[in-house]
């Protein structure tokens, strides 16, 4: 019997949900394991970087990399995995678009450190300790920590990516289909997002309840009202990203009576996810005078966090300008 | 031509001034110091001279509260230089005599052809500041002036003073000269607020430290009190005709008008 294809999983800046989603395959994981060898999976298997370094180039069939890239260690690891893998799949929203961690791009590194180590009310740090990249204890011992980059990046902003599995996290169904497709050798063109290229409304159980003209007179945040479980969220004034977000999740959030937050990202035809939905929703605001419009829009207190929740890094916004380095370098 | 104007900061009479019962002095918190009116006229006269002759005008005051504002205002109106006399702490000469000595000392260091000051002040009712200063400097002194016309060519000045009843006398004096100004030829000009602020920002006021002058005043303020309202006036009431009739009677009684 020929050697089973080798698969790697790696975890960059992310919450860990993507790792769990692999386990969500439930009994299907056995099918997967029977078909492939998991060669590297730090969260589950005790293997070290040197083990990967020892592998031959392109000896891994596929690496599933989740999380965005924000430290030098993550960068080195994904570059390493790129060399060792025939295919790299950006797994999950963070890896694909930068994800929630890339909202950090709205702040500078200094601001983040200042908040986390000093200013946050829950911090007790009388000594003012902050992590250093290098620490000498004076007895010849040196401790090195990875560099914390100014900017959080999506995976394809660091290495070449072959396919994308969207979602926060991707659904087991999509993962399974992806693995089977890879094994079958029937590969879509490089760069394909392995999910349908139509917006979520298409599979939304509430589509029929969306009126032609929304005429939104007020936006609500999810905690402000109890949403009608049958009615289109937009018709209820809840910003739902489903109109401009890929389907394929089978409307999971909608079934949980929560509006779509956009984790599957835009369709292939959209350059900037947030801007696209924003422009669509803005045209639905039921007011013509400036003051009233502003009043209605005030119902979305954090527009960037709302419309770019998963995609700052890969959006046209990219990040807040940082003095001195043009805002794009690390 | 160098004209020096000496300005004095005095309590603003328009504000309610209170006397501190314990010390018998004016309550500092109720005091608002402003340049005395005659000094404003002295400044105006100096500015008129400047406009006519191109003279430089140096304004001087002591660093009491409000002194800086007075200098900014003077600069805003057109003064050339502004000096704040200081000893490094709030500076309050206790008498006109001491002030005259300080100014005399200051004037040793700055050029002056004409020294203008208000003819009098609330704490200098006799108008002795100019006289004492002139004596210290050994200069001539003319007071209650209403016009000063210096002539650079002859290095002299024609000074008009006003006496009671509208009588005027015209003097001619060699320069340098000390003049006490009663009123200027035209009313003191108004300094627009923006220019006062500009003067403030321009940092053109200069502080000059003058060494303490030993002085032993022989006179001291013992107590101050508000005027006691008397029972002087009689209010006349009734229709205009009645009031007028009563008024004629009173005037006749006092033999001010012929019966």
């Amino acid at each position: 019997m020929a050697e089973k294809p080798k698969v790697a999983f790696y975890w960059c800046a992310s919450c860990g949900g993507c790792e769990e989603s692999v386990v969500d395959l439930a009994e299907d994981i056995l099918t997967v394991v029977s078909l492939v060898d998991i060669a590297f999976w730090p969260v589950a298997i005790d293997m070290k970087r040197k083990d990967v370094e020892a592998m031959a180039d392109r000896s891994l069939t596929v690496s599933f990399i989740n999380g965005s890239v924000r430290t030098s260690e993550q960068r080195e690891m994904v570059e390493l995995l790129r060399r060792k893998s025939a295919f790299v799949i950006a797994y999950g929203a963070c890896s694909q678009y930068g994800g929630i961690p890339s909202l950090a791009n709205l702040h500078s590194k200094e601001e983040i450190f200042d908040w986390v180590y000093h200013a946050s009310p829950t911090v007790v740090n009388p000594a003012g300790t902050v992590p250093l990249e290098r620490f000498d204890d004076g007895h010849g011992h040196t401790l090195k920590l990875p560099t914390f980059y100014e900017t959080v990046r999506a995976l394809d902003q660091v290495i070449d990516v072959d396919f994308y599995l969207p979602g926060c996290p991707p659904t087991p169904k999509l993962l399974k289909e992806a693995v089977l497709a890879l094994l079958s050798g029937k590969l879509p063109p490089k760069g394909t997002v392995l999910a349908p290229d139509v917006a979520l409304c298409d599979e939304c159980p509430r589509r029929a309840t969306k009126p032609e003209k929304l005429a939104i007179a007020r936006f609500y945040r999810p905690h402000e009202i109890v949403p009608d479980p049958e009615k289109c969220f937009l018709a209820q004034g809840l910003p739902c990203m489903g109109i401009g977000t890929r389907k394929g999740c089978e409307a999971l959030c909608i079934h949980g009576n929560m509006p779509c937050t956009g984790c599957f990202g835009p369709t292939s035809r959209t350059r900037d996810h947030g801007a696209k939905i924003l422009s669509a929703l803005a045209s639905e605001v039921d007011a013509t005078d400036e003051k009233k419009i502003e009043e209605i829009l005030a119902g979305i207190p954090d527009p960037v966090g709302t419309f770019y929740r998963y995609g700052i890094a890969s959006s046209m916004l990219r990040r807040k300008i940082v003095e001195g380095n043009g805002g794009v370098s690390a | 031509m160098d004209v020096v104007v000496l300005m004095k900061m005095v309590p603003d009479a328009a504000q309610k001034i209170e006397v501190d019962a314990a010390s018998g002095q004016l309550k500092a918190s109720t005091l608002n110091l402003i340049p005395f009116e005659s000094d404003e006229h002295a400044l105006e006269e100096a500015l008129l001279i400047k406009e006519r002759t191109g003279a430089t005008v140096t304004v001087v005051t002591t660093d009491l509260p409000g002194g800086d504002v007075a200098l900014w205002t003077a600069l805003a109106k057109g003064a050339t230089h502004a000096l704040l006399v200081t000893r490094g702490r709030p500076y309050e000469p206790r008498s006109t005599g001491e002030l005259a000595r300080i100014y005399a000392k200051l004037l040793e260091t700055i050029p002056h052809d004409l020294v203008l000051t208000g003819a009098q002040a609330p704490d200098d009712v006799e108008g002795e500041l100019g006289a004492l200063l002139a004596a210290q400097l050994g200069l001539p002194y003319i007071s209650v002036a209403v016009a000063v016309r210096p002539d650079e060519g002859t290095h002299s000045a024609e000074v008009t003073t006003e006496l009671g009843g509208g009588l005027r006398s015209v003097y001619e004096s060699a320069l340098p000269l000390v003049v006490g100004i009663q009123t200027s030829e035209t009313p003191p000009r108004y300094a627009p607020f923006l220019q006062i602020r500009a003067a403030q920002r321009s940092k053109r006021t200069r502080s000059v430290a003058v060494e303490p002058v030993p002085f032993d005043p022989k006179v001291e303020v013992v107590a101050l009190h508000k005027p006691v309202a008397g029972k002087g006036a009689t209010m006349l009431e009734g229709s205009p005709e009645e009031v007028a009739g009563r008024l004629v009677e009173i005037l006749a009684e006092k033999e001010l008008v012929g019966g």
Binding site: - | A14, Q15, K16, N32, R189, P192, F193, L194
Partner: protein, 397 residues
């Protein structure tokens, strides 16, 4: 904005679009006395002859009545921008009459043009039979901040109006307070005579005071303060709603009407102040033409008559834009006083009471009545005084 820079701004650039139609001069109540009436001034500005305008003294005769600006077909901001800028130039070369200079100096020093002590500003309150809250003494949230202004605070006739106003507020159960000795001139005369530095300083100072307290809206005693609030304060970030007292009481009329029991059997005419009507522009929505008339007509026994000039055509009392302190100058120039023209029109209309709502007007028109020898023909009352009288006056609180 400096006069030299007028053309850099859209408001100033409109000057270039002047078509010399002459509406400004035709409507100007002081045109006859100006060497250069408004139309000519605009032409001279365009021709670069500004110094001649400054020297002519024509600008001293403008009383900021807004007639020219409100009717200008090119919406050139003559009253609140160009003329003040030209007058601002007059500070450089002198030529500003002493009385007016003193008013400015007094505003600089004491925050009121009457030269009165700041600590005496709320002395009138002691004479009030109804409680008047002073914020410095009793801070804490309040609905209505009443900006009393200088004349109602210091002038005896103004104080009578202020007391009547307080009684009306009290009767209507309004939650109001005043700033007392913390209040300062709102900046009317400074703003309209081109003393922009002073206006700026006053606004900054007033806003600092306002920020100390918690109030929902502002009511002004008079028209001028209302106008300055409306035109200048928003630029400094002050967005609290401001109403003149007639506007506020006008809204409360349903509540007030049952209290108006005492008959006031007079033929009353009303003088529209420039700063509650015209100043809002020809197509303005915020004109207060109707409220004072509605209030007057609600008074039992009162018969309302209209003067020849009224609404947007009303004559000016002559007190705006520094005119309040130029009476001597006007007399020296051989000019008749606008306030006298208004009083004559009021008498011609058959009125025995001239009702006003502007803080300058009670005293101005009373002077005019005396000068004209009309003491027995007509009296001057503030609309609020008439309302107070009808509601029973001091005896009924």
């Amino acid at each position: 904005m400096d006069l030299d820079h007028v053309l850099l701004y859209p408001e100033g650039k409109s000057l270039l679009t002047c078509i010399q139609c002459g509406v400004c001069s035709a409507t100007c109540p002081q045109e006859a006395f100006m060497e250069y009436p408004p139309r000519k001034i605009v032409a001279m500005l365009k021709a670069g002859l500004i110094d001649e305008v400054v020297q002519s003294g024509s600008m001293l005769k403008c009383v900021s009545c807004y007639s020219c600006q409100a009717k200008c077909p090119r919406q050139i901001r003559l009253t609140d921008l160009l003329f003040p800028l030209i007058r601002g130039r007059m500070f450089e070369g002198g030529g500003i009459p002493a009385e007016l200079q003193k008013a400015f100096l007094d505003v600089q020093r004491y925050g009121n043009p009457l030269g009165r002590s700041t600590s005496e500003r709320s002395d009138w309150v002691a004479r009030s039979k109804v409680p008047i809250r002073i914020l410095a003494d009793r801070p804490g949230p309040v609905d209505l901040l009443w900006n009393v202004e200088c004349y109602p605070s210091y002038h005896p006739r103004g104080q009578a109006v202020a007391l009547a106003t307080a009684r009306l507020f009290h009767r209507l159960g309004l939650d109001f307070a005043i700033l007392g000795s913390e209040e300062r001139c709102i900046g009317d005369c400074a703003g309209y005579f081109g003393e922009f530095g002073l206006l700026d300083a006053l606004i900054e100072q007033n806003l600092t005071t306002f920020r100390k307290y918690d109030f929902r809206r502002v009511v002004t005693s008079g028209a001028h303060a209302f106008n300055v609030f409306a035109h200048h304060y928003p630029g400094y970030g002050f967005t609290t709603p401001v109403e003149p007292v007639v506007g506020l009481i006008g809204e409360e009329l349903p509540k007030l009407r049952p209290m108006l029991k005492t008959s006031v059997p007079h033929k009353v005419t009303y003088h529209d102040p420039c700063c509650l009507g015209r100043c809002m522009g020809a197509s303005a929505l915020r004109c207060y033409f109707a409220p004072p008339r509605k209030l007057l007509e609600a008074i039992p026994g009162l018969k309302y008559v209209e003067m020849a000039h009224h609404h947007e055509n009303s004559l000016c009392c002559g007190g705006g834009g520094g005119g309040m302190w130029l009476d001597t100058y006007y007399r020296d120039q051989g000019m008749d006083r606008l306030s006298e023209r208004v009083v004559k029109e009021a008498v011609a209309a058959g009125a025995d009471v001239l009702a006003v709502t502007c803080d300058y007007e009670v005293s101005r028109f009373e002077d005019a009545v005396k000068v004209l020898g009309y003491d027995r023909k007509i009296v001057v009352r503030d609309v609020l005084e008439l309302l107070d009288e009808s509601a029973g006056g001091e005896a009924a609180v």
